[in-house]
């Protein structure tokens, strides 16, 4: 898939330098022409239409834009798209298969882990990084791992339960 991403077009007729990057997003190879100042969050949302990655605060505070870069949870509003060249990006759209929700998504459904839902994709991606690293986290581990993600609705209780629910489901799946 190739995207020619033009953020603001030319400025006063001057050519805006673009750089070609090759990334994998949810397992798909993507070649994009991006201006250096384009943020990874904006490439995903506007360039690729992956609007599950939300931009909340845009100031490195809220974590709604959390994605995985080579398996590490990072804020995609605080990384330039050019820096993702050669990297593997995971977004919330990569969690479910065509027919089945990911256990994290199921957990948020079962345990009422969302209200308005704005922070949810970031919560899930931060939780995914945790569960990939530690399949049996304690409640304290979950709270620690999600401490960079803000939620204004739930009071966090059900989010923590949702992640623990998913951990349990993933463990029973891998045991079966």
């Amino acid at each position: 898939m190739t995207i020619i991403y033009e953020e603001t077009g030319s400025e006063g007729g001057a050519e805006i330098p673009q750089q070609r990057i090759t990334i994998r997003v949810n397992g798909r190879k993507v070649v994009a022409e991006v201006e250096p100042r384009l943020l990874l969050a904006h490439l995903l949302r506007h360039g690729m239409g992956l609007t599950g990655t939300h931009t909340g605060c845009d100031t490195t505070n809220c974590g709604a834009c959390t994605v995985l870069v080579d398996g590490r949870a990072v804020k995609s509003c605080t990384m330039f798209a050019v820096q993702a060249d050669g990297r593997e990006i995971g977004t919330v759209e990569g969690l479910a298969t065509a027919s089945e929700l990911h256990p994290l998504q199921e957990g948020f459904k079962e345990e009422h882990g969302l209200q308005c839902g704005f922070c949810t994709p970031g919560m899930m991606m931060a939780a995914k990084a945790l569960l990939d690293r530690d399949p049996s986290p304690t409640e304290e581990d979950v709270r620690w791992a999600l401490s960079g993600n803000l939620c204004r609705c739930t009071g966090y209780q059900n989010i923590v339960k949702s992640v623990l629910w998913a951990a349990e489901k993933l463990r029973s799946q891998s045991a079966g």
Binding site: T59, R72, M79, A126
Partner: protein
């Protein structure tokens, strides 16, 4: 929010990065973790014309102990690497205590200790830790390498001692001569907020007396503050409830806090004293366990 336009170069080697910085002059900036620089660029507090990305330079993501016992932290060692480091857990209690308190887990996955030192924010946690430990920063420039003591590295808020074509390639924590002890505590309103007050304590003991003491304060002045009188009050004597209480008082006196939305100056000063007491009282085997209660 978008930063101003800039040219981006992904450096493949330190020498290439230094050349790019040299040619770029004052308008060039190094991009490492970017967790302070990118927000500042988005807010247009910083508008560099050239960004030299060093993330693409191999071999800078290390932290290790040299044969002489000194700890070396490479320019691309992330806060999270230090948070999960067994090496620090067993050898360097002040750094091990500070690493999990830097920003939040997502920022810790990108941000770097060396970048935090270069950013020279008076609210930066690592600046206090490295200052208390008597560390230094290694700069790589066109003429080779030089070592800059942490105490001389910060010239003012957001201003460091690097020349425009130098890159900070590692931080070095000297080998302890005695048994290292200490910690880092900070008060923050929520995870990821700037410190209301933070205290780094790093001491070395020979079993009975304190042979070296380093105490530095975060967020209670226009720069990172070394509490030298408090350090002197601890050095050359056993750690006792009295010496700890004295160090707490002197550290609070060294603080220069301002009243703001995070708390009054009096409150911040009190927190500095409390943190000094708390860190020192928790040090095992010194008979100092009751100091916080006694004070």
């Amino acid at each position: 929010m978008y930063p101003s336009r800039f040219r981006y170069e992904a450096a493949r080697s330190l020498d290439q990065a230094v050349r790019l910085l040299h040619d770029g002059g004052d308008e060039a900036k190094v991009l490492a973790g970017g967790q302070s620089l990118i927000p500042m660029m988005k807010l247009r507090f910083a508008s560099p014309e050239l960004l030299v990305d060093i993330n693409t330079i191999p071999g800078l993501d290390y932290h290790h102990v040299a044969p002489d016992g000194s700890i070396h932290v490479g320019a691309l060692c992330r806060h999270a690497d230090l948070e999960h480091s067994e090496l620090l857990g067993s050898r360097q209690p002040t750094m091990a205590a500070a690493a999990p308190l830097i920003a939040d887990p997502l920022v810790r996955n990108r941000g770097t200790l060396v970048g935090s030192l270069c950013h020279a924010d008076p609210q930066g946690d690592w600046a206090s830790v490295v200052l208390a430990l008597g560390g230094s920063i290694v700069a790589h420039g066109p003429a080779g390498r030089r070592s800059i003591p942490a105490a001389e590295f910060v010239l003012g808020p957001f201003e460091n001692a690097l020349a425009h074509d130098e890159i900070a390639v590692e931080a070095v924590i000297p080998a302890p001569r005695g048994a290292p002890a200490g910690g880092y505590l900070k008060l923050e309103r929520r995870v990821g907020d700037f410190a209301t007050a933070g205290v780094a304590v790093a001491i070395e003991t020979d079993g009975s007396s304190v042979t070296r003491a380093g105490i530095a304060l975060t967020g209670v002045g226009g720069s990172t503050i070394e509490a030298t009188a408090a350090e002197e009050a601890l050095t050359g004597r056993p750690l006792t409830a009295e010496s700890i209480a004295e160090a707490g008082r002197l550290a609070a006196a060294a603080a220069q806090p301002r009243s703001d939305h995070r708390g009054s100056a009096t409150y911040k000063r009190h927190m500095v004293s409390t943190f000094v007491l708390r860190i020192l009282s928790r040090i095992e085997g010194t008979g100092a366990g009751t100091a916080e209660r006694a004070a």
